[in-house]
Amino acid sequence: MGEDEPLLIARQPLQSRLISGTGGFASLELMAQALAASGSEIATVALRRIDPAARGSLLDVLTEAGVRLLPNTAGCHTARDAVITAKMAREAFGTDWVKLEVIGDTETLLPDAPELLRAAEELIADSFTVLPYTTDDPVLARRLEDLGCAAVMPLGSPIGSGMGIRNPYNLALIREAVRVPVILDAGIGSASDASLAMELGCDAVMVASAISRAQDPVTMALAMRHAVHAGRLAHRAGRIPRRLHAQASTPEEGLAQLG
């Protein structure tokens, strides 16, 4: 098998198929070490009110790490809030990429589909590169692609839940339904979840809490890096079909008659 092709998001080639979140780390130093271990080329950031007393610059650390910033609209509950937040991110960071989140429920943090579509449409009309956080609904994924989203980011399970991929069939259907990259977002708990996402055909995986809130975030970042790589290789290699009964790999022919 030849070398893997780079992942292309909005014509930007990426060698790493693991996107890292920056939230939840105990310190910026730990975040930097975990980012390095993950091999990620993209890291998400959020926008919040300036705290004049804040110490250390997140931006400086991320610049030093050499990652591309992917601002999110976390915490936005309406299309209007998400659009303004994306515009502020473009002003603050000089990027038109945005991980578009429009939350519809405070308990589950599940996306609000109508508001998400509205925000995506408005941002794409304003030349943004939109990567929407979406449910694992193949129809919604296709609608988002039709609007011009650069990728879709379906959830495996609710944000920060660590529940893994609750509906692998839907993810496989999303992979069939759209041509843009599919990035599994939310719900990853451990390395096996990241591998499964890649085996199902996802083009990349986004991990935040599973790394930052692990007991040893740097080691977990390394585990995720290997898991994404292994899952990608397995997907390209093509797995065997599942069978109810055993199928021996050792030939019957030539078996000794011993009794």
Binding site: L47, I50, L58, F93
Partner: protein
Amino acid sequence: MIVLNGDAMQLPAGSSLLDALAQIGITPQSRGVAVAVDGEVVPRTHWEAYSLHDGARVEALTATQGG
């Protein structure tokens, strides 16, 4: 009176957005900062010329850790 990041602030009449932001140590040279007034983004090149009306709601945001 204006509201900057949720806090009421008294400013002399005719104050600009630049003046208000200076109160929390923000200048046009500050990295990774974006400002909106009443829900509209104001590019940093416009801060000096932007006169704040009484009751203006100013949001000054920057990068924070997040997924």
